[in-house]
Amino acid sequence: MTAVPAPTTGGGGKGRTEVRRRIGERWFTPYLFILPHFAIFLLMIGWPFFYGIWISMLDADAFSGADAPFVAFENYAKLFDPSDREFGRFWQTLWNTVLFVILSVPTLISIGLGLAALLNEKFRGRNGFRAIYFAPWTLGVSVIGLLWFWIFFNNGLATAVVELFGIDAPSWLSSQPWSWITIVIATIWWTIGFNTIILLAGMQAISADLYEAARVDGASKWQQFRHITVPSLRPILLLVVTLQIIASFNLVGQPQIITSGGPPTAQTTPVLLHLYNVGFKSPFDVGLAAAMAVVVAVVMVVVSLINFRFFSSERA
C-alpha cells in the first residue's frame, strides 16, 4: 500500500524526500518493521490466492482435494461455452449480483449523502441520531437477515402495514421484483450508517469559510450543497462508492437468509452464493467453484478500475 498524505489537513508535514539515518539504523531496518505484517500477508492472503488459481485449473472435488488431475482451462471453458450446462446459471447469478450492485449502490450513496447532510446541521439530539443511524451496521448478517425475513414473511408486519392503506400485499419473498426490493431495503437499513458516518466526517472537514462566503454571495442551502459540499467531498465519495461497489458485489448473506436465493429458485441467488453451492454441496465441484471465483475477481477488479478512472477524470 502506498502512503499518500491525507488531503486538506495541512500542517506538520515534513519534507518526504529527506532520508535520515538514526543511530543504529541499517538499510534493512524498515523491512524488519513490515516483516510481521508481510509474513502474515503472504501466508494468509498471498499464498491462498495463488493456490486458489491453481485449484481452478484442477478437476478437483471435495474428496480429491489438490490431488486432482490438471485440466488447465477446462473449468473456465465451461463458464464461457454457451452450450455447457454450467454457463447459464453462472452468468444468471453473476447478473443477479450486478443487478444488486446497480440497485443498491446509487441508493446507498444518495441516501447516505442526504442523511449525512442532515446530520451535519446543528440541532438538538444530533449525536443521538448519529448513533441511531449507525447502530444497525454493528449487527451481523444473520441478525439482519432473520429480522427482515420475519418482517416480510407471509402475513407479517410489512403485509399488515401495506394493508392498512387498503393495498393487497404481494408475496414479498417469493415473487419478483419484490424479493429484490426486500433484500435492498434490508441492506439499506443495515449498512446506511457506515456511508453516512464517513461522508459526515468528510463534510465536517470542509472549511466553514466557504459556506460563509457563499452565504454572503446569496447562495441557497441547495446551492451550497451542490457547489461546495459535493465537490469538496469528491475524494471521499470515491472511497465510499468504491467500497460500496465492492461490498455490494460481495452479497451473500441477505438472500441466503431472507429469500433462500428464491423465489423459489435462483432469481435472487448472487454469484458468490452460487459458487459456494457448487463447491460445497453435491456434486462438490471445487475446481469449477474456484474458476468462478477467479472470474468474479477479475470482473470486480475491472469494475473498480472503471470506477476509479471515472472519478479521477472528472476531477481533472
Binding site: 490466492f49 447459464g88 467500497l243 423459489p264
Partner: protein, 451 residues
C-alpha cells in the same frame, strides 16, 4: 461476511487497498474450497479398504473405546439423539460415544475426510450414501449385517436397496422420513370434510376448506412442500428417475407431466394459491388460515405443540393409481478404515441404536427396523403410527452418486416445478431441459464411478 470496510477516509488511492482486500477475500474463499492445506492427506482416510471381517461382533468390546458419532441433527431431533446416546453410554461402560450435531453437515464431513479426521460413525442420508461409498469414505457393512442377523425383511425392500453400492451394503438404516399431510381435525369437522385418503376426498376437503375461508392451500413454494408433493405424485403415476442402467434421466416421462399437471389443476381450481412463501404452509396451518400443510414428517412435534388436540397427520393421499410417497432415510455408516475394538464398539452402538428408535420416532420419524415398528411401545406413540402405511409406499432415488441432485440440484426437477407453479412455465419443456442436463451428468458420473 458482508460490509466490513476499510474505515480510513480521505485516501484517494483507497481503491488499491480495497482491491487488495477484495482479492484477499476471494483468495480466502478459494483457500476454504481446498479444505486443509496438506495435500498428503487427501483421501487418506479412505485409501485403505477396511477389513471389516473378523473382529466385529454383536457384543461390546472388553477394552474401552471412544466413538465419535457425527449427525446433522441440530434441532429437537438432536436433543432426542443426545438422550439416546447418553442412555447407551450408561448401559455400555466400555464404549463411550460422543455425539456431534453439525449444521452444514456434508461440508463438515468432507473437511474431516480431507483432514483425515473422519468420525467412526456418521449419519448418511440414503441419497448421499453412494457417493461416500464410491469415494471410499465409508466401509461395507454386508458382513456386519449378517453378524447382527439383519436382512431386507427387517427393514423395507426400498430402504434396504438404498443402502447398496456395487452389490455391497454400506450402511444400516436408522429411520424413514416420508412426506405427510398434516391437518387440523377441528377445521375438517367444522367444514364437514373427511381426512383425505384419495383424489376425491383430497379435492373435496380442499374445496370445502377454501369455501369456508381456510384458503391458504396445502403446499408452499418450498422443495420440501410443493417439491415433495410433485415427487409423490410422480411415483404414484409410475415414474422412474432413470432407465435401468442409469444412463438416461427419465423423469420427463408421462408420469412427470401428469404430476405437474395435477398440481396446476389444483391451483386452477382456486383451492391452492399460486405463491405461498416457503415455510408459510406451516404458519398458515398454525394460524388457522388453512386446514392442511404438507411437508416431511419431521415437523410433527412443532405442529403437535401448536395445534394440540386438533393435530392430525396422514400419508400423502393416493391421487393416482400406484402407491408412492416421497421419503428420505437417515442411515448409519462406518469410517472406511475402522477396525478392531473400535469397529466392534461402533457396530455394537449401531445395533443398539437402530433397536432403540421408539423415542427417535416420537420426534417425527418412522423407525427403519420392522421389529421396532411392530412393537407395542411404537403403537402407543401419539400420531406417528397414523402415517405408518407411508413406509410401504416410500421410494428413494436410485442408489448412485448424486442421484438426489436430479431433484434438488441446480437445474434439477424442483426448479422446473417451482417455475411451473409460480410463473406458469410449461411442465414438459422444463422437465425435458432438466432431463437433458441430468442425462449428461448421469453418463459422466457412470464413467467416473464405473457402475
Amino acid at each position: 461476511m458482508f460490509h466490513r470496510h476499510d474505515t480510513r477516509p480521505g485516501r484517494t488511492h483507497g481503491w488499491r487497498s480495497s482491491s487488495a482486500i477484495l482479492l484477499a477475500l476471494l483468495a480466502l474463499i478459494l483457500a476454504a474450497c481446498s479444505g486443509n492445506t496438506g495435500s498428503a492427506s487427501a483421501g487418506g482416510a479412505a485409501s485403505e479398504p477396511a477389513a471389516s471381517g473378523g473382529t466385529g461382533g454383536l457384543g461390546a468390546p472388553t477394552n474401552d473405546v471412544a466413538i465419535e458419532f457425527w449427525t446433522p441433527f441440530t434441532g429437537a431431533d438432536g436433543d432426542t439423539m443426545e438422550a439416546l446416546v447418553a442412555q447407551f453410554n450408561s448401559e455400555t461402560p466400555t464404549v463411550q460415544v460422543t455425539l456431534q450435531r453439525l449444521p452444514d453437515y456434508y461440508t463438515a464431513v468432507n473437511n474431516a475426510v480431507q483432514a483425515s479426521e473422519t468420525p467412526a460413525v456418521m449419519i448418511m442420508h440414503i441419497d448421499a450414501l453412494a457417493r461416500y461409498a464410491a469415494e471410499e469414505v465409508v466401509q461395507p457393512v454386508t458382513e456386519l449385517s449378517s453378524q447382527l442377523g439383519l436382512s431386507e425383511a427387517d427393514f423395507t425392500p426400498a430402504v434396504w436397496a438404498g443402502t447398496m453400492w456395487k452389490g455391497e451394503q454400506f450402511s444400516i438404516p436408522l429411520d424413514v422420513h416420508p412426506q405427510v399431510l398434516y391437518y387440523n381435525s377441528d377445521l375438517l369437522a367444522e367444514v364437514g370434510a373427511e381426512v383425505p385418503v384419495d383424489r376425491e376426498t383430497f379435492e373435496d376437503a380442499l374445496q370445502k376448506c377454501t369455501d369456508a375461508g381456510y384458503d391458504q392451500g396445502v403446499w408452499s413454494n418450498h422443495a420440501f412442500s410443493a417439491g415433495l408433493t410433485w415427487v409423490s405424485l410422480f411415483y404414484q403415476a409410475g415414474g422412474e428417475w432413470t432407465n435401468e442402467d442409469f444412463t438416461e434421466a427419465t423423469f420427463n416421462s408421462d408420469a412427470g407431466v401428469q404430476a405437474s399437471e395435477y398440481m396446476l389443476s389444483i391451483i386452477d381450481k382456486g383451492v391452492q394459491p399460486q405463491n405461498v412463501d416457503p415455510d408459510a404452509e406451516l404458519t398458515n396451518l398454525e394460524s388457522l388460515s388453512s386446514c392442511f400443510a404438507t411437508t416431511g414428517i419431521w415437523q410433527t412435534t412443532r405442529l403437535q405443540a401448536s395445534l394440540g388436540d386438533a393435530f392430525g397427520m396422514t400419508p400423502f393421499p393416493q391421487i393416482f393409481d400406484g402407491p408412492g410417497n416421497w421419503a428420505g432415510s437417515h442411515t448409519l455408516a462406518l469410517r472406511a478404515d475402522l477396525t478392531g475394538d473400535e469397529l466392534q464398539g461402533a457396530s455394537h452402538f449401531i445395533d443398539w441404536l437402530t433397536g432403540h428408535t421408539v423415542d427417535w420416532a416420537a420426534g417425527g420419524q418412522l423407525p427403519a427396523r420392522a421389529d421396532v415398528r411392530a412393537s407395542e411401545e411404537f403403537a402407543a406413540l401419539a400420531d406417528i403410527p397414523d402415517v405408518l402405511p407411508a413406509i410401504d409406499a416410500a421410494r428413494f432415488p436410485p442408489p448412485i452418486p448424486g442421484s438426489g441432485d436430479m431433484f434438488f440440484g441446480p437445474g434439477g426437477v424442483w426448479e422446473k416445478v417451482a417455475e411451473m407453479i409460480t410463473s406458469g412455465a410449461d411442465p414438459q419443456e422444463g422437465l425435458d431441459a432438466a432431463a437433458e442436463q441430468y442425462t449428461e451428468i448421469l453418463q459422466t458420473s457412470k464413467e467416473e464411478f464405473g457402475y
